[in-house]
Amino acid sequence: VQKERQRYEPVNAAPVKSFFVHMLTRDIKLEDAILDLLDNSVDGILRAKAGKKTSGSKTPYAGYQAEIEFAKDSFTISDNCGGIPWNLHDYAFRMGRMPDRSPDAPGSVGVYGIGMKRAIFKMGKRCLISTQSGQNAYDVDINPKWTDDENDWFIPVKPAKRMDGQDGTTLYIGDLYEGIASRFSEDAKAFKTELERMVATNYVFIIDKGFKVKINGDTVKPRPTRLIFDTKVTRTRKEVIRPYIFKARSDGVEVFLAVGFTRPIPSQDEIAEDQEEKKYSSLEAGWTVICNDRAVLYCDRTELTGWGEAGVPRYHTQFIAISGIVEFKADDPSKLPTTTTKRGVDASSTLFLQVKNKMREGMRIFTNYTNKWKTRPEDSKKQIEAGEPLSFEDIKAKSEDLVFGPTKTSLSRGEQFYPELPLPKRLQPNTRRICFNRRVEEVESVAEYLFEEADTDPSEVGEKCFDLMLKEALK
């Protein structure tokens, strides 16, 4: 008997809605999902400003703001950043981006067209987006019924006017998932601190350039990294503290890199104390990488940014004063060396690897200086404090007056400024560091005896003891 042949019909490979709604949201942190929404606001500004002349302005984002409000039962982000033009609806609301879609406004960070949807589905089942962009003003309503319906891929849109009449978008998310609601209520204070910290670090340059972000009523105020730049260079005073700078333009991407000191190098006592107990809960040492004004990596102190590689020592408290910033700018965001989440660098990007060589080259100058002066931190402090802490933008402006030299790099139009840092004239073969431990009570007794002050700095006590004995010995 001949067996009946199995018939194979074409299988259904269409995406399932719940995949987007539940799976896609798993691999992103809640804070990151909210940053995606802020990215949309920033991209809105770039769209609104496209074609307008703003070059040269120090605060191109001034006047634009986004307000985030979260509570137990809802999340809202409201901005005045231009709104979502109707011709972009296919990008804004579709899950993913069509390949034939025209590129975004120059300089935006969004590439994949998933951020807003992912953020909504991460938080809740209901969403109302109300947007106004020029003549277009409409509401998009996503409700739980739509989320659960596998066959309905269309979302209703209604014409509507925004209350304040300004171009911008308000996105409201309700029916929050239980875990999200409890983070917005039971963990509210800790969540706000963390979100504020993330906004302050990721948007440090955008906020510095005028953008305003409020979280539950409080304005986020970042602390931008400032590098010491000594401008008082004369014919006899050439060796001063200034950052190492590298710039290049390659395949539509502009690169600007600066690395230097943010503060005096630490004393041996400070290093020892830090090993016992962490003094600061945040540090600005390390590398910050910016792609189109957005910090995608903040104060990194790992191999990813060159620490502990190719002659650069591993990060250690000793190098607490060293910070670097590297900026990538491109009209086409797909050329930037950042990951899909915009929360990290693409470590395999050829462009980033080439720039990383320069990051290491710059870092070596400052780790070397630190090692050379570590036994004389007080002398080094005077040199560092002679300079002025300058913001990244100010360094860029100041760099116009510096003499750049060519550099061996495969990046086109690469050039660098090599600072001449002061180095000890001799390597001090005649001095030795003396270091020892004694019981606290004993040190206090000697301090009281010598200085009539029990809490005198222990190193001062040690030095005085040595000097007294030396006097005796030389008699």
Partner: protein, 321 residues
């Protein structure tokens, strides 16, 4: 950090007794004999003496790093060594090795300063203690620490403060408040954030505050007491403390302890008018018939404090040994 001798620290003495009183309510949640008390007791072991007086069933462990203080503690032990163990170690090393092993505990992190390291120790402890354990933390709360000689120095101190505590600040860019009450609220917020970070809503356990105070016997101090319990048993904890007049179950503003200096004769005289719930300040002022501070407002504020805390206020007397 210098503080007056402990016998002159009447507000701290009141705070100690509020802990003792609070434990009465903890007894509604679990048998106190299942608890062990850990503290950085100082040379006189005053808190241990009190605890032994009120709850002899609680096992006690003192942690002290200084050799001479340790010897002095041995001199002051209030009871037999099978009830009180004196450990000579620093708190960080103790914490690294501490394993609750299911035993409920009462911890008093009685610090004198305010550093981020203290917050880290508090967070580590919350992770380690068993359910229904009590954690009390005392921190320095002195706004003047962040005032410099001039604007530049003040700005530097504020910047240092923000860098040091950024991870637990409710608004990382806000400046530390310049008045005592607001500074105490800020430290409480910082501890709330530290607690929420350690025992977040995705975990079964939660830290619930039961009381918080600020006081200044010399420099300002802040103290918070709370319980680590199952989220599902939060209502039970709230119920146990519901009727306590010193409770702070919802992270409200810390209460002030600022008891007046009254002679024993004055106290005995006022005793006849206590307890006094309505217009206590005025009633006690009239009972005395004179002012004990600069004006009526201040006198009544002090006497209101006395009315609230008189039961926790020890009598300091001259004794002939």
């Amino acid at each position: 950090v210098k503080q007056p001798a402990y016998q002159l620290r009447s507000n701290k003495a009141v705070d100690r007794l509020t802990l003792i009183d609070g434990l009465k309510r903890v007894a509604k949640l679990a048998d106190l004999s299942e608890y062990a008390y850990y503290s950085l007791g100082g040379p006189y072991l005053e808190d241990f003496r009190l605890l032994y007086e009120f709850y002899p069933e609680i096992k006690m462990i003192s942690i002290e790093n200084n050799d001479e203080v340790y010897k002095r503690q041995r001199f002051h032990v209030p009871c037999h060594s099978d009830r009180l163990k004196l450990k000579r170690t620093d708190f960080k090393s103790f914490l690294a090795q501490y394993d609750a092993g299911g035993e409920k505990s009462i911890f008093w992190l009685d610090y004198l300063g305010l550093t981020y390291g203290h917050f880290e120790e508090f967070m580590t402890l919350l992770e380690k203690v068993s359910l229904n354990s009590v954690v009390k933390i005392t921190l320095r709360c002195e706004p003047s620490d962040y005032l410099g000689k001039d604007d530049t120095q003040t700005a530097q101190k504020i910047d240092e403060f923000q860098r040091e505590f950024e991870a637990v600040l409710p608004d990382p860019s806000a400046e530390p408040p310049s008045n005592f009450a607001d500074f105490a609220s800020l430290i409480q917020d910082m501890l709330q954030i530290a607690a929420q970070k350690t025992l977040s809503s995705s975990m079964a356990a939660k830290f619930i505050p039961i009381s918080s105070f600020r006081y200044a016997d010399g420099d300002g101090m802040f103290t918070l007491t709370g319980i680590v319990c199952l989220r599902s048993e939060e209502a039970k904890v709230r119920k146990a403390f519901h009727k306590w007049h010193l409770k702070n179950l919802n992270w409200g503003r810390p209460k002030i302890i600022d008891v007046p200096n009254l002679s024993t004769r004055e106290r005995l005289h006022l005793q006849r008018s206590l307890p006094c719930e309505k217009r206590a300040g005025r009633t006690l002022r009239l009972a005395l018939g004179y002012l004990i501070d600069k004006n009526i407002r201040r006198t009544e504020a002090k006497l209101r404090q006395y009315a609230e805390f008189h039961n926790y206020f020890p009598y300091f007397m001259k004794a002939i040994p």
